[in-house]
Protein backbone atom coordinates (compact mmCIF):
# COMPACT_ATOMS: atom_id res chain seq x y z
CA UNK A 1 0.00 0.00 0.00
CA UNK A 2 1.47 3.38 -0.90
CA UNK A 3 2.48 5.57 2.01
CA UNK A 4 0.22 8.46 0.90
CA UNK A 5 -2.88 6.28 1.09
CA UNK A 6 -1.91 4.97 4.52
CA UNK A 7 -1.44 8.51 5.87
CA UNK A 8 -4.75 9.56 4.36
CA UNK A 9 -6.47 6.59 6.02
CA UNK A 10 -4.77 7.28 9.33
CA UNK A 11 -5.87 10.92 9.20
CA UNK A 12 -9.40 9.79 8.34
CA UNK A 13 -9.52 7.42 11.32
CA UNK A 14 -8.18 10.08 13.65
CA UNK A 15 -10.86 12.49 12.42
CA UNK A 16 -13.60 9.85 12.77
CA UNK A 17 -12.62 8.95 16.31
CA UNK A 18 -12.73 12.58 17.25
CA UNK A 19 -9.21 13.08 18.48
CA UNK A 20 -9.34 16.83 18.40
CA UNK A 21 -8.81 17.43 22.12
CA UNK A 22 -8.33 21.19 22.13
CA UNK A 23 -11.60 22.03 20.45
CA UNK A 24 -13.61 19.54 22.49
CA UNK A 25 -12.08 20.89 25.68
CA UNK A 26 -13.21 24.40 24.76
CA UNK A 27 -16.70 23.12 24.03
CA UNK A 28 -16.81 21.46 27.47
CA UNK A 29 -15.66 24.65 29.19
CA UNK A 30 -18.21 26.66 27.22
CA UNK A 31 -20.90 24.17 28.20
CA UNK A 32 -20.05 24.37 31.92
CA UNK A 33 -20.03 28.18 31.77
CA UNK A 34 -23.36 28.25 29.92
CA UNK A 35 -25.01 25.85 32.35
CA UNK A 36 -23.78 27.79 35.40
CA UNK A 37 -24.87 31.15 33.92
CA UNK A 38 -28.22 29.68 32.89
CA UNK A 39 -28.91 28.31 36.36
CA UNK A 40 -27.87 31.58 38.00
CA UNK A 41 -30.21 33.54 35.72
CA UNK A 42 -33.15 31.16 36.24
CA UNK A 43 -32.61 31.07 40.02
CA UNK A 44 -32.54 34.88 40.04
CA UNK A 45 -35.83 35.05 38.08
CA UNK A 46 -37.61 32.59 40.36
CA UNK A 47 -36.24 34.34 43.45
CA UNK A 48 -36.95 37.92 42.35
CA UNK A 49 -40.26 37.07 40.62
CA UNK A 50 -40.35 40.07 38.25
CA UNK A 51 -43.80 40.78 36.82
CA UNK A 52 -42.62 42.32 33.54
CA UNK A 53 -39.52 42.65 31.37
CA UNK A 54 -38.90 46.13 32.80
CA UNK A 55 -38.86 44.63 36.30
CA UNK A 56 -36.29 42.04 35.17
CA UNK A 57 -33.92 44.93 34.44
CA UNK A 58 -34.56 46.86 37.65
CA UNK A 59 -34.42 43.75 39.85
CA UNK A 60 -31.23 42.75 38.06
CA UNK A 61 -29.73 46.14 38.91
CA UNK A 62 -30.72 45.63 42.55
CA UNK A 63 -29.12 42.18 42.56
CA UNK A 64 -25.80 43.41 41.17
CA UNK A 65 -25.85 46.62 43.22
CA UNK A 66 -26.12 49.17 40.42
CA UNK A 67 -29.69 50.26 41.15
CA UNK A 68 -30.32 54.00 41.31
CA UNK A 69 -33.42 56.15 41.05
CA UNK A 70 -34.39 58.23 38.02
CA UNK A 71 -33.46 61.74 39.21
CA UNK A 72 -35.55 63.54 36.58
CA UNK A 73 -38.70 61.62 37.56
CA UNK A 74 -37.93 62.23 41.24
CA UNK A 75 -37.70 66.00 40.64
CA UNK A 76 -40.96 65.85 38.68
CA UNK A 77 -42.56 64.06 41.62
CA UNK A 78 -41.32 66.67 44.11
CA UNK A 79 -42.69 69.47 41.92
CA UNK A 80 -46.09 67.73 41.71
CA UNK A 81 -46.01 67.13 45.49
CA UNK A 82 -45.43 70.82 46.18
CA UNK A 83 -48.26 71.68 43.78
CA UNK A 84 -50.55 69.40 45.84
CA UNK A 85 -50.97 66.96 42.92
CA UNK A 86 -50.40 63.93 45.12
CA UNK A 87 -51.62 61.29 42.66
CA UNK A 88 -49.34 62.68 39.93
CA UNK A 89 -46.48 62.93 42.41
CA UNK A 90 -46.81 59.29 43.43
CA UNK A 91 -46.93 58.19 39.78
CA UNK A 92 -43.66 60.06 39.17
CA UNK A 93 -42.11 58.61 42.35
CA UNK A 94 -43.13 55.10 41.23
CA UNK A 95 -41.39 55.68 37.91
CA UNK A 96 -38.34 57.09 39.68
CA UNK A 97 -38.06 54.22 42.16
CA UNK A 98 -39.82 51.15 40.74
CA UNK A 99 -38.16 48.83 43.25
CA UNK A 100 -39.15 51.04 46.24
CA UNK A 101 -35.63 51.00 47.61
CA UNK A 102 -34.85 54.70 47.96
CA UNK A 103 -35.58 56.21 51.37
CA UNK A 104 -36.04 59.79 50.10
CA UNK A 105 -38.54 58.78 47.41
CA UNK A 106 -40.51 56.54 49.75
CA UNK A 107 -40.54 59.35 52.35
CA UNK A 108 -42.22 61.67 49.86
CA UNK A 109 -44.66 58.88 48.92
CA UNK A 110 -45.62 58.44 52.59
CA UNK A 111 -45.93 62.20 53.04
CA UNK A 112 -48.16 62.47 49.95
CA UNK A 113 -50.50 59.82 51.40
CA UNK A 114 -50.62 61.79 54.67
CA UNK A 115 -51.36 65.12 53.00
CA UNK A 116 -53.94 63.68 50.61
CA UNK A 117 -55.70 61.67 53.31
CA UNK A 118 -55.65 64.33 56.02
CA UNK A 119 -59.00 65.85 56.98
CA UNK A 120 -59.95 68.39 59.60
CA UNK A 121 -62.83 66.21 60.87
CA UNK A 122 -61.73 62.74 59.83
CA UNK A 123 -58.90 61.23 57.80
CA UNK A 124 -59.06 58.81 54.87
CA UNK A 125 -58.14 55.49 56.48
CA UNK A 126 -57.35 53.81 53.16
CA UNK A 127 -54.78 56.44 52.18
CA UNK A 128 -53.36 56.56 55.70
CA UNK A 129 -52.89 52.77 55.68
CA UNK A 130 -50.95 53.05 52.40
CA UNK A 131 -48.94 55.86 54.00
CA UNK A 132 -48.05 53.59 56.91
CA UNK A 133 -46.85 50.92 54.45
CA UNK A 134 -44.67 53.52 52.68
CA UNK A 135 -43.21 54.93 55.89
CA UNK A 136 -42.46 51.40 57.10
CA UNK A 137 -40.43 50.94 53.92
CA UNK A 138 -38.45 54.12 54.73
CA UNK A 139 -37.72 52.84 58.24
CA UNK A 140 -36.65 49.47 56.83
CA UNK A 141 -34.32 51.10 54.28
CA UNK A 142 -32.84 53.74 56.59
CA UNK A 143 -34.09 53.98 60.20
CA UNK A 144 -32.15 57.22 60.76
CA UNK A 145 -33.40 58.94 57.62
CA UNK A 146 -33.91 62.71 57.86
CA UNK A 147 -35.26 64.72 54.94
CA UNK A 148 -33.25 67.69 53.73
CA UNK A 149 -36.37 69.45 52.40
CA UNK A 150 -36.79 72.57 54.59
CA UNK A 151 -40.34 73.10 53.28
CA UNK A 152 -41.59 69.99 55.09
CA UNK A 153 -42.92 70.22 58.65
CA UNK A 154 -42.19 66.57 59.43
CA UNK A 155 -38.66 65.59 58.50
CA UNK A 156 -38.32 62.06 59.87
CA UNK A 157 -40.29 58.87 59.14
CA UNK A 158 -41.11 58.45 62.84
CA UNK A 159 -42.98 61.76 62.86
CA UNK A 160 -45.05 60.77 59.83
CA UNK A 161 -45.72 57.33 61.28
CA UNK A 162 -46.99 58.86 64.53
CA UNK A 163 -49.34 61.18 62.64
CA UNK A 164 -50.61 58.38 60.39
CA UNK A 165 -51.13 55.98 63.32
CA UNK A 166 -53.05 58.63 65.25
CA UNK A 167 -55.22 59.27 62.22
CA UNK A 168 -56.05 55.58 61.94
CA UNK A 169 -56.95 55.12 65.62
CA UNK A 170 -60.38 55.95 67.04
CA UNK A 171 -59.74 57.62 70.42
CA UNK A 172 -61.70 59.96 72.75
CA UNK A 173 -59.41 62.78 71.59
CA UNK A 174 -61.12 62.57 68.19
CA UNK A 175 -64.16 64.19 69.84
CA UNK A 176 -62.10 67.15 71.06
CA UNK A 177 -63.54 70.28 69.31
CA UNK A 178 -60.11 71.88 69.36
CA UNK A 179 -59.12 69.31 66.76
CA UNK A 180 -60.99 71.42 64.20
CA UNK A 181 -58.37 74.12 64.43
CA UNK A 182 -55.52 71.67 63.96
CA UNK A 183 -53.47 72.34 60.84
CA UNK A 184 -52.15 69.87 58.32
CA UNK A 185 -48.41 69.38 58.59
Amino acid sequence: MPNGNRDQKKYKLVEDEGIIPMKEKYIHILSITGVVCGFVFITFLYWAEPRSLAEVTSKGQVAIGTYSIDKAEFDRGVTAFRAEDFVGARAAFDRADPEKRDAATQFYVAYSFYRQGWGRVSSDDKLFAQGVAAVDRVIAIDPNYRSADAALVMRTPTEIKTELDEGLKLTPSDLNPLKLIKERK
Binding site: M1, R6, E17, I27, H28, I29, G38, Y46, E49
Partner: protein, 240 residues
Protein backbone atom coordinates in the same frame (compact mmCIF):
# COMPACT_ATOMS: atom_id res chain seq x y z
CA UNK B 1 -0.76 -5.68 6.51
CA UNK B 2 -3.64 -8.12 6.84
CA UNK B 3 -5.30 -5.89 9.40
CA UNK B 4 -4.86 -2.84 7.27
CA UNK B 5 -6.58 -4.47 4.32
CA UNK B 6 -9.45 -5.44 6.61
CA UNK B 7 -10.13 -1.79 7.34
CA UNK B 8 -9.24 -0.57 3.89
CA UNK B 9 -11.57 2.25 3.18
CA UNK B 10 -10.01 3.35 -0.07
CA UNK B 11 -11.53 0.50 -2.06
CA UNK B 12 -8.31 -1.41 -2.88
CA UNK B 13 -8.87 -5.08 -3.62
CA UNK B 14 -12.66 -4.96 -3.60
CA UNK B 15 -15.27 -5.83 -6.21
CA UNK B 16 -16.44 -2.76 -8.20
CA UNK B 17 -20.02 -2.91 -6.78
CA UNK B 18 -18.78 -3.20 -3.20
CA UNK B 19 -16.36 -0.33 -3.76
CA UNK B 20 -19.18 1.82 -5.09
CA UNK B 21 -21.34 1.04 -2.04
CA UNK B 22 -18.52 1.93 0.34
CA UNK B 23 -17.76 5.12 -1.54
CA UNK B 24 -21.44 6.06 -1.47
CA UNK B 25 -21.48 5.45 2.29
CA UNK B 26 -18.42 7.66 2.65
CA UNK B 27 -20.06 10.45 0.68
CA UNK B 28 -23.18 10.35 2.89
CA UNK B 29 -22.99 13.31 5.26
CA UNK B 30 -22.18 12.12 8.77
CA UNK B 31 -22.13 14.38 11.78
CA UNK B 32 -18.57 15.17 12.69
CA UNK B 33 -17.31 14.72 16.23
CA UNK B 34 -17.34 18.45 16.72
CA UNK B 35 -20.96 18.70 15.56
CA UNK B 36 -21.96 15.96 17.97
CA UNK B 37 -20.12 17.71 20.80
CA UNK B 38 -21.82 21.00 19.95
CA UNK B 39 -25.20 19.30 20.00
CA UNK B 40 -24.57 17.47 23.27
CA UNK B 41 -22.81 20.22 25.18
CA UNK B 42 -24.36 23.42 23.85
CA UNK B 43 -27.69 22.84 22.13
CA UNK B 44 -28.97 20.22 24.56
CA UNK B 45 -28.32 22.24 27.76
CA UNK B 46 -29.76 25.33 26.07
CA UNK B 47 -32.96 23.43 25.26
CA UNK B 48 -33.24 22.02 28.78
CA UNK B 49 -32.46 25.40 30.37
CA UNK B 50 -35.21 26.98 28.25
CA UNK B 51 -37.62 24.34 29.53
CA UNK B 52 -36.44 25.00 33.10
CA UNK B 53 -37.13 28.70 32.63
CA UNK B 54 -40.52 28.33 30.93
CA UNK B 55 -41.91 25.39 32.93
CA UNK B 56 -42.84 27.49 35.96
CA UNK B 57 -43.87 30.62 34.09
CA UNK B 58 -47.52 31.64 33.95
CA UNK B 59 -49.24 34.83 32.81
CA UNK B 60 -51.72 36.62 35.06
CA UNK B 61 -55.32 36.67 33.83
CA UNK B 62 -55.86 40.38 34.46
CA UNK B 63 -52.66 42.04 33.23
CA UNK B 64 -50.60 39.27 31.59
CA UNK B 65 -47.94 39.84 34.25
CA UNK B 66 -45.24 37.18 34.70
CA UNK B 67 -45.88 34.74 37.52
CA UNK B 68 -42.92 32.51 38.38
CA UNK B 69 -44.03 29.40 40.25
CA UNK B 70 -41.42 27.43 42.13
CA UNK B 71 -41.83 23.66 41.75
CA UNK B 72 -43.58 21.71 44.50
CA UNK B 73 -41.59 19.04 46.33
CA UNK B 74 -43.52 16.30 44.54
CA UNK B 75 -42.12 17.57 41.19
CA UNK B 76 -38.59 16.87 42.44
CA UNK B 77 -39.62 13.37 43.51
CA UNK B 78 -41.22 12.68 40.13
CA UNK B 79 -38.19 14.07 38.30
CA UNK B 80 -35.87 11.80 40.29
CA UNK B 81 -38.05 8.80 39.45
CA UNK B 82 -38.03 9.85 35.79
CA UNK B 83 -34.22 9.98 35.79
CA UNK B 84 -34.16 6.42 37.11
CA UNK B 85 -36.60 5.56 34.33
CA UNK B 86 -34.35 7.21 31.72
CA UNK B 87 -31.42 5.12 32.95
CA UNK B 88 -33.43 1.87 33.14
CA UNK B 89 -34.97 2.51 29.72
CA UNK B 90 -31.55 3.01 28.16
CA UNK B 91 -32.07 6.65 27.22
CA UNK B 92 -29.06 7.55 29.36
CA UNK B 93 -26.16 5.20 30.01
CA UNK B 94 -24.45 6.43 33.17
CA UNK B 95 -21.20 4.61 32.30
CA UNK B 96 -21.17 6.48 29.00
CA UNK B 97 -21.53 9.85 30.74
CA UNK B 98 -19.13 9.44 33.63
CA UNK B 99 -15.86 7.58 33.26
CA UNK B 100 -12.30 7.53 34.54
CA UNK B 101 -11.20 7.66 30.91
CA UNK B 102 -12.75 11.11 30.47
CA UNK B 103 -11.02 14.27 31.54
CA UNK B 104 -12.33 16.06 34.64
CA UNK B 105 -13.66 18.89 32.50
CA UNK B 106 -15.64 16.45 30.37
CA UNK B 107 -17.06 14.69 33.43
CA UNK B 108 -18.10 18.07 34.87
CA UNK B 109 -19.62 19.12 31.54
CA UNK B 110 -21.53 15.82 31.39
CA UNK B 111 -22.79 16.37 34.94
CA UNK B 112 -23.95 19.84 33.87
CA UNK B 113 -25.90 18.43 30.92
CA UNK B 114 -27.58 15.79 33.12
CA UNK B 115 -28.32 18.45 35.74
CA UNK B 116 -30.15 20.51 33.11
CA UNK B 117 -32.08 17.36 32.15
CA UNK B 118 -33.12 16.90 35.79
CA UNK B 119 -34.08 20.57 36.19
CA UNK B 120 -36.10 20.52 32.96
CA UNK B 121 -37.91 17.33 34.03
CA UNK B 122 -38.78 18.95 37.37
CA UNK B 123 -40.15 22.01 35.63
CA UNK B 124 -42.17 19.93 33.16
CA UNK B 125 -43.94 18.36 36.14
CA UNK B 126 -44.33 21.86 37.60
CA UNK B 127 -45.96 22.85 34.33
CA UNK B 128 -48.27 19.84 34.02
CA UNK B 129 -49.45 19.26 37.60
CA UNK B 130 -52.20 21.68 38.64
CA UNK B 131 -51.06 24.17 41.25
CA UNK B 132 -53.46 23.32 44.07
CA UNK B 133 -56.75 21.83 45.12
CA UNK B 134 -58.36 18.56 44.09
CA UNK B 135 -56.86 18.53 40.53
CA UNK B 136 -53.35 18.69 42.06
CA UNK B 137 -53.99 15.47 43.99
CA UNK B 138 -55.82 13.66 41.18
CA UNK B 139 -53.27 14.39 38.43
CA UNK B 140 -50.38 13.96 40.85
CA UNK B 141 -51.71 10.53 41.77
CA UNK B 142 -52.08 9.58 38.08
CA UNK B 143 -48.45 10.55 37.48
CA UNK B 144 -47.32 8.57 40.53
CA UNK B 145 -49.26 5.51 39.38
CA UNK B 146 -47.84 5.63 35.84
CA UNK B 147 -44.23 6.32 36.83
CA UNK B 148 -44.34 3.64 39.53
CA UNK B 149 -45.65 1.08 36.99
CA UNK B 150 -43.06 2.07 34.39
CA UNK B 151 -40.25 1.64 36.90
CA UNK B 152 -40.87 -2.12 36.90
CA UNK B 153 -41.32 -2.58 33.17
CA UNK B 154 -38.68 -3.59 30.64
CA UNK B 155 -38.84 -0.55 28.41
CA UNK B 156 -36.56 0.17 25.50
CA UNK B 157 -35.71 3.76 24.61
CA UNK B 158 -38.32 4.11 21.86
CA UNK B 159 -41.12 2.74 23.99
CA UNK B 160 -40.03 4.93 26.90
CA UNK B 161 -40.09 8.07 24.75
CA UNK B 162 -43.51 7.15 23.37
CA UNK B 163 -44.83 6.48 26.86
CA UNK B 164 -43.50 9.80 28.19
CA UNK B 165 -44.86 11.67 25.17
CA UNK B 166 -48.30 10.12 25.64
CA UNK B 167 -48.30 10.75 29.39
CA UNK B 168 -47.33 14.40 29.02
CA UNK B 169 -49.79 14.96 26.16
CA UNK B 170 -52.64 13.63 28.30
CA UNK B 171 -51.63 15.72 31.31
CA UNK B 172 -51.34 18.81 29.10
CA UNK B 173 -54.82 18.13 27.70
CA UNK B 174 -56.26 17.74 31.21
CA UNK B 175 -54.69 20.90 32.60
CA UNK B 176 -54.53 23.40 29.75
CA UNK B 177 -57.63 22.37 27.82
CA UNK B 178 -60.12 20.77 30.22
CA UNK B 179 -59.36 22.57 33.49
CA UNK B 180 -58.49 25.87 31.77
CA UNK B 181 -61.89 25.83 30.08
CA UNK B 182 -63.60 25.26 33.41
CA UNK B 183 -61.88 28.29 34.92
CA UNK B 184 -63.75 31.57 35.05
CA UNK B 185 -61.60 34.47 33.86
CA UNK B 186 -62.07 38.20 33.62
CA UNK B 187 -61.61 40.95 36.16
CA UNK B 188 -65.31 41.55 36.89
CA UNK B 189 -66.59 41.23 40.46
CA UNK B 190 -67.44 37.76 41.77
CA UNK B 191 -71.19 38.52 41.84
CA UNK B 192 -71.13 39.60 38.19
CA UNK B 193 -69.13 36.52 37.24
CA UNK B 194 -71.65 34.26 39.00
CA UNK B 195 -74.50 35.79 37.01
CA UNK B 196 -72.57 35.69 33.73
CA UNK B 197 -71.29 32.12 33.97
CA UNK B 198 -72.45 30.29 37.09
CA UNK B 199 -71.08 26.87 36.02
CA UNK B 200 -67.52 28.11 35.42
CA UNK B 201 -67.55 30.16 38.59
CA UNK B 202 -68.73 27.11 40.56
CA UNK B 203 -66.03 24.85 39.10
CA UNK B 204 -63.37 27.50 39.74
CA UNK B 205 -64.45 27.76 43.35
CA UNK B 206 -64.96 24.03 43.94
CA UNK B 207 -61.72 22.91 42.27
CA UNK B 208 -59.75 25.94 43.51
CA UNK B 209 -58.51 26.67 39.99
CA UNK B 210 -56.03 29.51 39.49
CA UNK B 211 -56.88 32.15 36.87
CA UNK B 212 -54.23 32.51 34.16
CA UNK B 213 -54.15 34.19 30.78
CA UNK B 214 -54.67 31.90 27.72
CA UNK B 215 -51.07 32.70 26.69
CA UNK B 216 -49.95 30.37 29.50
CA UNK B 217 -51.22 27.33 27.61
CA UNK B 218 -49.31 28.27 24.44
CA UNK B 219 -46.12 28.86 26.40
CA UNK B 220 -46.38 25.55 28.22
CA UNK B 221 -47.06 23.75 24.94
CA UNK B 222 -43.76 25.17 23.69
CA UNK B 223 -42.00 24.10 26.89
CA UNK B 224 -43.24 20.52 26.63
CA UNK B 225 -42.42 20.33 22.92
CA UNK B 226 -38.89 21.58 23.68
CA UNK B 227 -38.52 19.00 26.44
CA UNK B 228 -39.51 16.15 24.14
CA UNK B 229 -37.13 17.50 21.50
CA UNK B 230 -34.40 17.59 24.12
CA UNK B 231 -35.08 13.96 25.07
CA UNK B 232 -34.93 13.00 21.39
CA UNK B 233 -31.57 14.76 21.04
CA UNK B 234 -30.11 13.24 24.22
CA UNK B 235 -27.42 10.73 23.29
CA UNK B 236 -27.15 7.45 25.18
CA UNK B 237 -23.47 8.11 25.77
CA UNK B 238 -21.61 11.39 25.69
CA UNK B 239 -18.89 9.91 23.46
CA UNK B 240 -19.23 7.21 20.81
Amino acid sequence: MQDESAIDITGDGLEPTETETRLAARRRPRPSVQQTALRTYLILPAVFLAVTLLGGLRFGAADNAFIFLKPALICLVFASAMLVLFIRGGLVDIAGWFSDEFTTVQNVANAGVLLTLFAATTQVFNSLIPERGLPFWVIGFCFLWTIWNNLFLDLDTKKLLRSIGGLFALAFFAKYLVLANLTATGDAGWLQRIFEDPAKETFTWLLDLPRYSPATGYLQFLAIALFLLGLYLTPRRSKK
